[in-house]
Structures are given as structure tokens and as C-alpha cells.
Amino acid sequence: MTVVGTPIKRREDEALLRGRGSFVDNLTLPGTAYMAVVRSPYPAARIVSVNLDAARAAEGVIAAFSGADLADEWAGPLPCAWLVTEDTKNPPHYPVAIDVARYQGDPVAVVVAESRALAKDAAELVEVEYEPLPAVADVEQALSDGAPLVHEELGTNECYVWKLETDGIQAAIDAADVVVTRRYRQPRLIPNAIEPRGVLAQVGPTGDVTLWSATQTPHIQRFVLQLVLGIPEAKIRVIAPDVGGGFGSKIQVYGEGPLAIVLARRLGRPVKWTEERSENYLGTIHGRDVVHEVTFAATKEGKITAVRSEAWCAMGAYLELVTPGIPLLGAWLYSGPYEIPNYSVTFTGVFTNTTPTDAYRGAGRPEATYVLERTMDALARELGMDPVELRRKNLIREFPHTMASGLTIDSGDYHASLDRLLEVLDLDAVRAEQAARRERGDVKQLGVGFSTYNEMCGLAPSRILGAIRYAVGGWDSATVRFQPLGSVQVVVGTSPHGQGHETTFAQIVADRLGVGVDEVEVLHGDTAISQLGMDTYGSRSLAVGGIALWQATEKVIAKARAIVAHQLEVSEDDLEFADGTFRVKGSPDRSMDIKAAAFAAHAAHNLPDGMEPGLEETATYDPANFSWPGGAHAAVVEVDTETGDTRLVRYVAVDDVGRAINPMIVDGQVHGGLAQGIAAALYEEGVYDAEGNLLTTTMATYLVPSAAELPSFETDRTETAADNPLGVKGVGETGTIASAPAVVNAVVDALSHLGVTDVPLPATPERVWNAIQEVRS
């Protein structure tokens, strides 16, 4: 029976839905003490003194420390693994600030008490004397003359400048019939994983450390913990139990993890910390916060000849794990699914007195796709051409396709996705309804917007990562282990936090080995169980980890084949393997199933000479290329022209994610991704005031949309096989990458007959109404 390609239910869900999941905050060890972090209320301030007396005297308090008290504990600062140029500035960043706080939320002291509530109460009693310093929160202001310096010793707020350019870009622009230049501001987004961060640290009698962490990256955590604490990795075990979402915000190695370990060691007790929601808004990385200026050059027939992008990207106050590299993940996508021969991309990283930025679903790719797809519409208007027609004219037709920017797209059929999209959308009917409303002068106008996109995921080929200065590799690993009686344990180096890996991976292994899907158990998220791995981010778990799993499975089959050949006294080449059974070619009654081979491997009574007992294999897979999902999306919006109130009425997504192992999980990933991209288009914005105070610190002011704001998504797929044994491309980020520009293009389209050409992100009622007023006056 084949389970790959079928929508079997997620085995993860029953426990989670019944409240029987096991998250970090559910775990308590005997003697656990609780940590509360005191955070700077100032965006920038010198820490003059920290008085801990009242906190230490408070009920239930075990200890309290300032940043200076703990300064000697650190073997090194919290590292950044992706310094994108030789001269990228990386100022030291410690778990607790020592002399200067550089963003609102920067930790300045820590309190440990007998309960979480007592720790919180005592944290309020810590008296910190601050000398407020001037602060800057806006990337453009941060680069202006005389701007306050986030790190005075650097003498500048510029972190780096990174450039990728083909020869002759300026000549191509100069020679073009049509040139459009547009500027876009993509605001801050706050990731909002449903489970905030949390850690529980235990230090054993020999100095061995166990850290339970709400993380996407147990392996990376372990690696970084050695750098920060000086404890050998071999003595560190990191466990990611059930993790309630991350969207990239749980990749980083935040200060609270090493801090809890240090306190557990000093106090001789396990130490737990659970982030509060408003604390999460300040203390966990943000995404986006980028200003772009983009130029397209084209012939008058609509063939795009050059794209040039310049972007100013907020780093925040410090570099987190991969902060400077986030724009680079989009650096090859400014030509998207189009054939554009001349190419230039520049990123300037900028320090601001804000929460650090880092990976947020899509990471660099939504930023690129947004400006690309918005500018496609701007160019279409400039040319007087239908936006779908312009896209069609420029979509890549042949694969593999090597882009002007240098990377090669292995597979795709962008025209097929677009054709299917138009079919599902029934564009003619939408346009007819739009025309009728315009004709009638309806208060509520209709708009339709498109986004044809591709993305670069399956992070990542280690050699390419090395070439762009990422500190480690992008491979992954898997182990497939037959137990003696025929059930199968799978150990993977990826670390899920809601994606349904246990189900998907079991489907792959069950099909290939010919065992029942319920006989396959998938283990992950514990460095003591899974030694090798590079964890989960960048839509890599299936496209990289899944291939490692495929290869490990093939190795198991190969060993079983040798055992069966030996026992049946035939040559390995004479054996066929299907549905869990090896059969002798031409003599199908001579057979042995793989479970029998597994038992034989464990019994070891009759193995080929020199063969080790057991049936367990490990494989690592380092992809030769990124994977390249793509597709075509359309949004239909209704805009109330009197109030600016904008409602999404339809959303159609046709994606090519390669082969879908579990179509239901794929749909779920697309739905969640769409919701986040639509949120960026219409609802979510992390707002700092000019002084660097975060104004959106609760879910009442940071508007994560709910199901009530979203229509039923219409999803479909076209499929081209990726160049890997499973043909899979990854689906974690497609929805987020494609959707925001489709929605904003739709808003502009709804108002285009009035003369509106742009609405800033997010398209709030007031901004939409203002856009209408501007063209009316």
C-alpha cells in the first residue's frame, strides 16, 4: 500500500489537541527555580548602577545578578554565524548588558526565585539607575549625518554593504525604452509563535548540561553554547520537546539559554524561564524592516532587460545568529521567475536601537518578492499592459535555467501554474464584476492582484554557504534502524515545531521499506538521540533532511539485500525488492521479507562473512543546489472607498512544490504561510516611535489576523519534480513569500481607476483612504 501522496492525518495532532503536548513550560524538575529577566525600558541608556538589595530581600528570592556580576561567566559573546562581508561589524553581545542597554527590552539584570510569580514580583524591585542616551529606530535616519550611534565605538551605524552585480547594468538601464523606479518600505513584523520562548537548564554532577529549549535548532544551540560558556559540546545535551511554532524566531541562540545554565550551575538547582507574551514582543527577534529602491528597465514591448535593487536593512541593536545574512537569502530572487539578463542587488545593513531582526518565515525572500511583484505591476501600468500579460512575456520557459545572478533553477513550469491559476480564478468573471462596480460607482470596489513567484529554499549547499561566508554547513542527516522484530526507528537531524515531520517522514520510510506507516517511529529534537543535524528552517527539512532519510533507507535496503542474498544463496543482482519483500527474479516463490532480514541481522546466526550485526544505517545529504518552488497566486479584495476598509474576499494559490508527500500537510503549510503574508499586507506592523519605544507590545495593538479576517483559501498545485530522489522542493515559506504583493497589488488595482498607484504596508483603512484622498485632491 502506498501512503506517499495521501493525506493521512497527522500523528502529532491528537496529543496536542487534547492538551497532552509536552512543552518546556510543562516540564519541571525537582528543585526547579524560576528566572525573571529585568529589561531596559529605554531604547538606549548607560547603566549607571544596579541595586539588587530590595529584590534579594523579597519573598522567595534565591539570587539576583546584574550584567556586571555575570560578566566573568562568558567564554565569549553570543556569536553571529553569518558575517556576510570581511568587514561586517559585529559588536559584542552578552546575555545581560553590562554597561549600555541598546534597545527597549535589552536584559540588564536577572532574578531567580522559588516561583515564576515571585521572580516576576522581585524583578520589579530591581533598581536600575539609567542615564538615557539618544536613540534611533529608523534605518534611514540611522544613516543620516549626526544620527545617534547604536554602538559608539564603531563610529557608524552601517554594519555592512553587500553587492551582487552583473557587468553592464547601467548601460542596460540607459538603453531601455522604459525605466521605472519605485521605493518601498516593509515594516517590522513580530513572529508571534503561539508558544513563547522557554528554557529549563540542569547542570549535572560532572558539569554536564541538559537544556530543554523551545527551539528550532537543538544542534546549533549545542554548538553555540560551547562558544558562549566554554563547556565542551560533548557535555551538552539540548532537547527540543514539543515546540509551539517558531517561524524562524526560534533559530537563534538567545541569551536566556546560557544565562539559565550559568544560574543553574551557580545555584545548584535547575532553572526555568518562560517568556511572557509582551516580553516576547521585545525580547525575541523581529522580521523585515527594510527600505528598498528598485529600478526595472524594459523594452516598450514589455521585455524586462534589467533589475537593480538597493535595500537598507535594519539589523536592530545587535547581530543575532544570522541577522546580516537574512537579506542574502533573497539576493538571487530579485529576478524571480523571470528571465532578466542584467542584475544588481545591494544591501546595506544598519544598526538601530531596536530588537534585533533575524529570520522570519521566508527570510529575505518575501522582501525580494514583494518589491519585484509590486514593480511588475508598476511597469505594466507604465507600459499600458495587462499585468498578467507582462508576467507571461517574461516568465522563464526552459529548465534548468541559469540566472544572470549565477544560480541555476533546476526545475519548474511557471506558465503551467499561471494557466491553472487563471482557470481557478475565472479572471474574466472577476474583471466583469469589477467593471460593473466601477460602472455603477459602487462604494465597495473590487480589485484583483497577482504574484508569480519562485523561491530558493532547501537550505543549503554547504559549498555555496561557505562562499557566502555562512559559518557552518547546510547538509542534514538521518538514521533508519530496524528493531529486531521489524518495527522501524527513524532518527532525523531536523527539528520540527509544528510541521508534521513525524507523519511525513514515516510515510516516506514506510512506503520504501514496505512496512506499515504505524510501524515507523520518528525521533528528533534531542542531541543525545540525534547526534548529527542542522535543524529546521528555510523549508529544508523535507528537501534536505528528507533526502538524507531516503538515502539512509536505501542503505538499509542494500544491507538487507546482502543478508537475503546470502541466506537464499543467490546473487544480490538476482533479487527484486518491492512491498517489503525480496524476491528472486524468475522464482517469485523464493523470497524473504525485510522484517525477516532485520531479525536475521540481529540474530547474526548466518550473516555474510565480515558483516556487522544489526540493521541500521545513517546517511548525510548535502544538496548540490537549492530547491526552487514556484507558482502563481491571485488575491481579490473589496475596498470600501469611503472608509478605506479593505477585505480579502478570495485568495487563489497554485504552487509547484514538487512532489507532495502528504497533500493535507502541504495545504496546511500553504494556508499558514498565506495567512502570514496577508497579515503583512493588511494587518501586522511592529511600530517604534521616533525615540525607539516599541508601541505594539500586545496582541491588542499588533494585529495578527484571525480566521474571521481570512476567506477560505483556494489552493491547487502543478508539479514538476525537483532534481532529488524524492522530487520534493519544500513548502514552508511559499505562502508567505507570494501573498503580500498579490494582496497589495489587488488593493491598488481596486483603486487604479481613481489614479491610485501605491498604498504603503500594511494597507490599513486610513492609509487606503489617504491614498484615495491624495489622488482626488
Binding site: D121, E276, S278
Partner: protein, 280 residues
């Protein structure tokens, strides 16, 4: 997300609750908890003592009392929204209760709690104000009635004395010539109104001869749009009358909207509310 320490008392009766309000320093009544508890969890509110009135089930009712409908203060929004008596005689209250927050809020939050909280962005205050409703408060010396127009005194402030609790809300039965509408603009379904308008009209010859208009989130308290009401009474067409909706208001500027945009919304939503109310 962790409130500051507080004491907790359970009231056995309205009299007991009022007695506790007198005895305990810095005490707050806890009803549905959907405004107070979030404020406490953010440590924006730090009452020394909570008096839980949630078990006073006698205060959950919707009754016909002649010319008025009486609503017990502890009636939850979902019960107000679903009350046949209100739907028949004063539909705007039921409708607006169905617009409060999200289903979780409507299943816990109470009409008395919402009115006593005095949040100018809440839906029910402007509705009760437009209806000319009456609020019944119990204090140490018994009950007194407060007109809705006297009840809301400032941002999160009401005419309730520190030792009084709201026990009942009375709204008029609307006659057959009446029409009503509540027009609300909010960013998300669950959000407070950016601006909302409650309109109750007397219909006549396809227009309105009389109108009462309540404004949500257009100042420190819910407001009556008196200039609109006077224009309607003076025979002005709806569109002309609605243009006066922002007069005398002092709307906030915040992340949801600027004050100017709110004034604009008040005019648009007032016109729409009056038109819908007239259309019945």
C-alpha cells in the same frame, strides 16, 4: 502576563459585594474579567483586592418590566445577544452585544462589567446612551437609578461611587415606527471599534423625524451626536445631518487611526447608520 499580588473575596450577594467594597481598600469587582484581568496581567491595573461577583447568578436575566426591558448586570454578552425579548423590543442591544470582542469574550464578559468599565471604545456604552437607558446601582443605602447620560464621566470613569455596584440596565421598548442600526468599523473582528455609531430613529415618510445617535471611541466617553440629532429634528436630510457627526467630539489618535480619520469615519458611519435605521 502575571498579575501583581492581590487578595480575593467571593461575594455571596449584592449586599455582601457592596459591604466588601466598603471594607476593603483598593478593591475591584470581578465579573467576566475580560477587561480587568488583561489589564492586571499587564500590571496596568493593580487592585489590592478582587471581589468576585461571578457567582451572583440572580443578576443574570432579561425581563419585561412594562415599557422597558431590564437586563441583569451579570448577563453575559452572548445571552444578551440571544435574548428574544431584546431582539423583539430593543434589537440594537442584542445586535451590539453580538459585536463585542470574539466568541470567548462574549461567553465570559457581562453587560454590567462592560458598562462599569467605562471604556469609550466599547460597543455597549454608546448604544445604551443613544437609547437613553437607565443604570441601576446598589450602594450601602440601597439602589439608585442613574441616567446613561450621567453615567459615563471620563475615560474608564463612571458615576458609580467606590462602594456601589451596577446591578441592572434598563432600556426602552422601541415602538413600531422606530428603526435602529449599529455601524462599527474595526480592524479585526475581535478588535475594539476604531469608531462605531449607534442610531435609533423615528421613521416618517421614508426618512427620520427624530434620531438619537451614540458615538463609540470619539472621545473620553461615549458621546451623543447632538448636532446630528438637532439637524434631523430640524428636517435635514440624512446626508446633511450626518456631516455634523464629528462636532463636539475629541477622538483619540492611536495606532488604529488618527483623530482626523476618526472624524471622517464618524461622518460616514453616522450616515450609514441613519440610512440603515430608516430602512429598518
Amino acid at each position: 502576563m502575571i498579575p501583581a499580588p492581590f487578595d480575593y473575596e467571593v461575594a455571596e450577594s449584592p449586599e455582601h459585594a457592596v459591604g466588601l467594597l466598603r471594607e476593603r481598600e483598593d478593591a475591584k469587582l470581578l465579573a467576566g474579567g475580560h477587561s480587568l484581568l488583561p489589564a492586571m496581567r499587564l500590571r496596568l491595573a493593580r487592585p489590592a483586592c478582587l471581589i468576585d461577583i461571578g457567582r451572583l447568578s440572580d443578576l443574570s436575566y432579561v425581563r419585561d418590566v412594562g415599557d422597558e426591558i431590564a437586563i441583569g448586570a451579570l448577563t453575559r454578552h452572548k445571552d444578551v445577544a440571544g435574548a428574544p425579548l431584546l431582539q423583539e423590543h430593543c434589537g440594537i442591544v442584542a445586535y451590539a452585544a453580538g459585536q463585542v470582542g470574539d466568541p470567548q469574550v462574549r461567553h465570559r464578559g457581562t453587560i454590567g462589567g462592560s458598562l462599569s468599565h467605562g471604556d469609550p471604545a466599547s460597543d455597549l456604552p454608546a448604544v445604551v446612551l443613544a437609547l437613553g437607558g437607565t443604570l441601576v446601582a446598589r450602594g450601602p443605602s440601597g439602589e439608585r437609578s442613574i441616567a446613561a447620560s450621567d453615567f459615563f464621566t471620563g475615560v474608564f470613569e463612571t458615576a458609580l461611587a467606590p462602594d456601589e455596584m451596577l446591578v441592572e440596565v434598563r432600556v426602552p421598548k422601541l415602538g413600531p415606527a422606530s428603526g435602529w442600526a449599529y455601524e462599527k468599523l474595526s480592524r479585526r473582528a475581535q478588535d475594539w471599534a476604531t469608531v462605531a455609531v449607534a442610531a435609533v430613529v423615528e421613521r416618517s415618510n421614508g426618512g427620520a423625524s427624530k434620531a438619537a445617535v451614540g458615538l463609540t471611541n470619539m472621545g473620553g466617553t461615549p458621546l451623543r451626536a447632538t448636532a446630528v440629532e438637532e439637524a434631523i429634528a430640524g428636517g435635514a436630510p440624512i446626508a446633511e445631518a450626518a456631516a455634523h457627526a464629528a462636532e463636539g467630539t475629541d477622538p483619540p489618535s492611536d495606532l488604529a487611526a488618527s483623530a482626523d480619520f476618526r472624524r471622517h469615519l464618524a461622518r460616514v458611519l453616522t450616515r450609514r447608520a441613519l440610512e440603515r435605521a430608516v430602512a429598518g
